[in-house]
Each structure stands twice: as C-alpha cells, then as structure tokens.
C-alpha cells in the first residue's frame, strides 16, 4: 500500500486518468456571473469571474463575507438552487461543460471528478447514518464496488486522513466525533472517488487553532500525493498563505487581484488587498493604530456603477466611479483590477 493509503487498483486507475487528461488547464471559468432572483429584486453575487486552474494546483479565493467566494465555488459543481439562480458564463472541468450537463452526467461529475469539503461537517454529514455508511454509499455509486470492497476502501480512506482506530470510527455517527475528527472524515468522504478537483469552502474556519493547522497540513500533503487541483475559499489571509500556490482576492463578486502567493502578500497592487493586509492584526503592531479600511462591503443588490471598492478607497478619482476598471495584467500570472496599475509594471 502507498503512503496515502490507496490500494494498488486505485493507483492504477489514477495513472489511467492521468494519461487521458486533456492538455491545458483542468478548470476553465469564463465570464461567470451568478444572480439570485427574489421578490425584492436581484442580488448580484458574482459579476464576471475568469480564471483557469491547472491540474495539481492550489488556488485560494480570499475575501470577506458576501464577496461571492462560496457562490463561485458552488457554481463549479452546480450546487446552487436552480429555480432562483441565474448563472451565465462558461465553466469547464476536464473538458466537460459543467453548466450544460444533464442530471445524470452531473451526478457522475459530482463526487467522482469534483468533490467538496464544507465549513461545517456537522451539517454536511447526514446525522442518521454512520460515517462508514456514507463513505461506502459514495464509493459504491461511483466505482461500482461490492459492499465488502467498499468497506475496505472506506477503512483505507480513514487511515489516509489519520483518524485513530479507523475500524471503530467507521461505525461512529457524526455527533460522536470531535470537530477536527469530523472534518477529517469529511475529507475522506470527499476524496473517496479520487476527484481531480477538490473544492474546499472554509474547511478550517470552525476549528480551533491547534486543529486548524493539522487539517491544513493534511490537505496540503494529500493534495501533493494525489496530485489534485484545489480551489480553496477562505476569509483568512494567514490560512491562504499556508495552503495556496496562487491567491485570488475577491470583492463584490469580482476578482480584484490575482497572482502567486508571494507576489500578492509581498507586493499587493489593488488598494483593497493593501488595506486587507494592513488591517490584519499581528503582534508587531502593538501600540500602533491599525490602518482600518473605512466603511463596509457594498450591498450586492445595489452595486455602484464603477469599481465596487471606490466608496472605501483612499485613492478614488472620477474615472473609478464611471466604469468597472478592466483587468490589468502585470505579467502572465499577475492581475489587478485598478486603474492606478499600469500593465507590465510588475516588481
């Protein structure tokens, strides 16, 4: 057995998948917009998001509540309620057009190719079935294994996420486990069919600090061993730095800045990213006044016409409020949506 706890057969299947992998990025998201329509008008949750994600790459979407991070993530797997959501744009995962898939094809995609880890494992698991039952059900549905083989696989998965006494834990109900243990079980369930893309929605936010770092390191190790692409959503820049290769900063439904972790953390270009970094408290600031960003995030039902950050921005000028600033590319991997940034001025 390999270090990751996968069976030989599973490794074989992975190798086949690698061969059949289409060239180019694994995920391509183009001009994604998501609108929630209700009686009181439309909420513009996502307003034109473009990105690509390579196989085996970790992209972290960082933003505050209401920035559209989770909605973007859910759109990747079409988890948003159909009748109240208007999605436009194009999302492809491994060459499949996610927004055009039928029910059956969507069911094949979810879990097998794209899987998700949620913030609150207590509500994401079904409370009336054991952890084992829920993993076995998934493995049987996608891989067509027998009950016995599926149980064996579930056991391997719990070992892989380092749950102590895994055989006993298979028969535990979600409420019988601690928060960190439940999140490990959630990861085991998500990885049960070896997805090529893992979506992680604030998976460590509900955990204690000493447990959070364990889960982040576990995710990082598994991501490397299984060569998965991960789209990770968090509000915490510290967490983003621990886990990601690239960071995308999101504000009011748009990516306002993207780049490698180092570039974004060390030389932020967009005033919002700069403000976010300056207002993140750390010990060295003791005795100094925090540079808070004034005001509050905008109302998504009534967005300002130009740059959504303009009302809070210290550098605001007239041009900011007339049209949405275009993406400015500093180099191949570095983008900021701000009129003050000029192309190619990367440091």
């Amino acid at each position: 057995m390999s270090a990751s706890g996968l069976s030989e057969a599973a490794i074989g299947r992975r190798a086949e998948a690698a061969v059949s992998r289409a060239p180019g990025p694994l995920v391509r998201c183009e001009a994604l917009t998501v609108r929630f329509v209700g009686r009181e008008g439309a909420v513009h949750a996502v307003n034109g998001v473009d990105f690509t994600l390579d196989a085996g790459e970790v992209l972290c979407i960082v933003g505050e509540s209401g920035a559209g991070k989770s909605v973007t993530l859910r759109a990747m797997m079409r988890l948003l309620p159909d009748h109240r959501t208007q999605i436009a744009g194009r999302i492809t995962v491994g060459g499949k057009n996610v927004l055009a898939l039928g029910r059956r094809a969507l069911g094949d995609l979810r879990g097998a190719e794209v899987a998700m880890v949620f913030q609150e494992p207590m509500t994401a698991f079904d409370p009336v079935f054991t952890i084992g039952t829920q993993i076995i059900e998934t493995v049987k549905r996608h891989d067509g294994l027998s009950e016995h083989a599926a149980r064996q696989r579930a056991l391997e998965l719990l070992e892989m996420v380092q749950i102590p006494s895994p055989a006993r834990r298979l028969d535990s109900y979600p409420h019988e486990m601690s928060g960190g243990m439940r999140q490990r079980a959630m990861i085991a369930l998500a990885l049960s069919c070896r997805p090529r893309l893992l979506l992680a929605d604030e998976p460590t936010t509900a955990l204690d600090a000493t447990v959070q770092i364990q889960i982040l390191q576990l995710l990082r190790r598994l991501q490397r061993e299984l060569d998965m692409a991960v789209l990770f959503v968090t509000h915490d820049l510290g967490v983003a730095v621990e886990i990601s290769d690239r960071i995308a900063v999101m504000y009011a439904g748009r990516f306002v800045e993207t780049g490698s972790v180092r570039a974004v953390i060390r030389a932020p270009q967009h005033p919002y990213t700069q403000g976010l970094l300056a207002s993140t408290v750390h010990g060295a600031m003791r005795g100094r006044r925090l540079e808070a960003i004034p005001g509050a995030p905008p109302n998504l039902a009534a967005l300002p016409p130009g740059c959504a950050f303009a009302p809070r921005c210290r550098y605001v000028e007239t041009a900011c409020t007339t049209a949405v600033p275009p993406e400015v590319w500093l180099d191949d991997a570095r983008m900021a949506r701000c009129i003050r940034v000029t192309p190619g001025q990367s440091e």
Binding site: E64, S65, P164, S178, G179, G180, M181, D208, A209, T210, V211, Q212, I213, Q214, Q217, H235, D236, L237, G238, V239, V241, E242, V261, R262, I265, G275, L276, S279, T280, V281, H282, G283, M285, R286, R289, L290, E291, A292, I293, P294, A296, P297
Partner: protein, 338 residues
C-alpha cells in the same frame, strides 16, 4: 489586596451537571472552570486565550454574575460580590458590563438602538429623557451618527455597526470594567480593525479596564497588557504579554503560538505542534489536564496536578507545569539546590 487591583478572583469554580436517563440523574460533570485565581489591575487589559471548551466564556459570565459560581470569590474594588458585607450584584453590574460575540442575538430585535442603550440607565434610576440624551452622547462616541442610527432596529445594521451598538449599550452605565467576550470574532477583517481601534480609543478616553477574551492570539497580543492562557478549565500560564509571547513556558502555550499561521509563504509550518483535538471537558484527564497531548508528559504529570508557580527570571510570570518545579519528579525539572 493591593490598591491597583480592580477585580480579584480567587479559587473560582463552576461545574455543570450532565443529566441523562429516564430519571434525569446526574451522569457526568463538565468542569468548565476549575479553581482559577487571577487579578485584573486598574487600567489594564487582561487577555484570556484558549481553545473552545477551555472555560473562557464561562469565566466571563462568572465575573459579571450571569452564572453563580459553585465555589470561590470575586471581589470588585475590594468588596466581595454578593456577600452580606460586600457589593450587591445589581451594583456590580453598574460597574462591570459585558460585550458578547454574537452581536445579533445579543440585541433585542424589537428594540430600536435608542431603546436598547437607554434601557440600562433607566433601570438604574435615570429619567427616560436624560437616558435618551446619554444615548446620543454615547452613539457619537462609538462612531455612529445619532441622527441616523438612534431610531434603527438591529436588522437594519451591519455586523460592525451592531457590535458598536453593543459596545455603546455596555458603556451606557459608565462602567469601570468591560468584559469583552470575543468582540471581533464574528466581524470581517476590514471591520475588525475598525472595532479594535474604537476599543483602544474608548479605553484611553474613558479610563476603562478590559478583560478581553479571544481565541485569536494576534488580536490578544495587540490588545492586552497581561495574558491568561486557559486549558480545560484551568489556568496554565499567566503573565505580561511580552514575556508570554517571547518566552512561553508551558508546552501548551508554545503549541498554541506555534499553530499561528506565519503569513510568510516561505515559512509554512511542516509539522503540527500538537496532534488530536482538545479533550472533552466532561471528566477531564487527571493530574495535568494537558498531559494527554503533551509531548513531554511523564508519569508524574498524570499523577499530580501542577500548581501555578512564579518564574524566577521574570516577575509575575506564572506557569503550571511540572517541568519547571524542582522536585516534581519530572526528568526535565530543575534540581533542588542542596
């Protein structure tokens, strides 16, 4: 009790019974706060840190008597709380106020901002008109325009504005001590900084004393003068903020500080400082409660409970660990001088 001590806590204890079965017999006990002692000095900010279930919030509620302690005493300004010759709870609450984590559930949805803030002073004997005048004054202090916000209801406010209203309500009685229980944990980062700045300003302008509870070590370091580290209902380390952060003595404090994200992509942690989750506070382990997760645990740690002991080099830095006590039986303990 020295003159600069505003609040003195001695041997405070609170257990919660867990009942079960048909007859609702007591089946277990949560030792939420178990025999803790500390002082809050006049004008300082005392930070309390720890993970979920360590007893931070129970401590806060005991300080302001939202919960009755099972044992131990709390004395405010030299007067023991709720004793015949001490300070009555009602008077205590005029001097000690609390701000809660969840700004939404701690405001009455049917009361306007003005009614919410004026309620306390009017209960304590201020005429309604005078109370309303005070509301305007306080709203301006917390950075909310009274003309705009006095008539609003909680659902018409953002998270940061609601937390400002909570702070205003706590200040309405002109207290000396504020107990802040995770006041910024539910806020977005950009708003968190605004509220922390406000708390620093208010403390300076109104000569307040804070007990600041948080699970965020960065925020506690920024705000506090002294820090109390709790683990499963016990104080494991207690001392000046510089000393605790630069030179943590207890293995738990070290692990907690080691688990902080570095904010540096080239210094990612490769090894977690602790394994496993915090144990259940129901029937905690005997001896040192941390010994089940401690990398340095030895038999003496399970056998006897370490007491808080002062550090030889830094005054007023206390740690409860057998490794620092001569003759404790731990192999890393200093030798007893002959």
């Amino acid at each position: 009790m020295s003159a600069d001590t505003l609040l003195e806590v001695r041997n405070l204890k609170r257990y919660f019974p867990i009942r079960g079965g048909l007859l609702q017999r007591q089946v277990a006990t949560v030792q939420a706060v178990d025999d803790i002692s500390f002082d809050v000095r006049r004008g300082e900010t005392l930070g309390i840190v720890g993970e979920s279930g360590c007893g931070k919030s129970t401590t806060a509620r005991l300080l302001i008597r939202l919960l009755e302690p099972d044992d131990g005493t709390v004395a405010f300004d030299g007067r023991a709380v709720a004793t015949s010759d001490g300070i009555p709870v009602r008077e205590l609450r005029r001097h000690v106020q609390m701000v809660f984590q969840d700004s939404y559930s701690s405001l009455n949805p049917r009361c306007s901002v003005e009614d919410t803030i004026a309620y306390g002073p009017s209960v304590h004997g201020l005429a309604w008109e005078a109370a309303k005048a005070r509301v305007r004054e306080i709203l301006a202090k917390v950075g909310l325009d009274p003309a705009l916000f006095a008539a609003r209801y909680p659902h018409e406010l953002s998270g940061g504005q609601r937390q400002r209203v909570n702070i205003a309500r706590a200040l309405a009685l002109e207290p000396k001590l504020l107990v802040l229980d995770e006041p910024v944990s539910a806020l977005d980062k950009s708003v968190e900084a605004q509220v922390l700045n406000l708390l620093v300003d208010l403390k300076r302008d109104l000569a307040l004393t804070y007990v600041f509870i948080s699970h965020d070590l960065n925020v506690v370091q920024y705000m506090s003068d002294r820090v109390l580290v709790m683990y499963l209902g016990k104080v494991v380390e207690y001392g000046p903020v510089e000393s605790i952060y630069a030179n943590p003595r207890h293995p738990y404090t070290r692990a907690l500080l080691g688990a902080m994200p570095s904010m540096d992509p080239d210094r990612r942690g490769e090894h977690a400082t602790l394994t496993g989750d915090p144990p259940n506070p129901i029937n905690p382990p005997p001896g040192c409660r941390f010994h089940t997760r401690c990398p340095y645990a030895e038999p003496c740690c399970a056998a006897a409970e370490p007491r808080l002991a002062a550090d030889a080099s830094v005054s007023a830095h206390y740690t409860a660990c057998h490794m620092l006590v001569p003759g404790s039986g731990h192999s890393a303990a200093p030798r007893i001088a002959a």
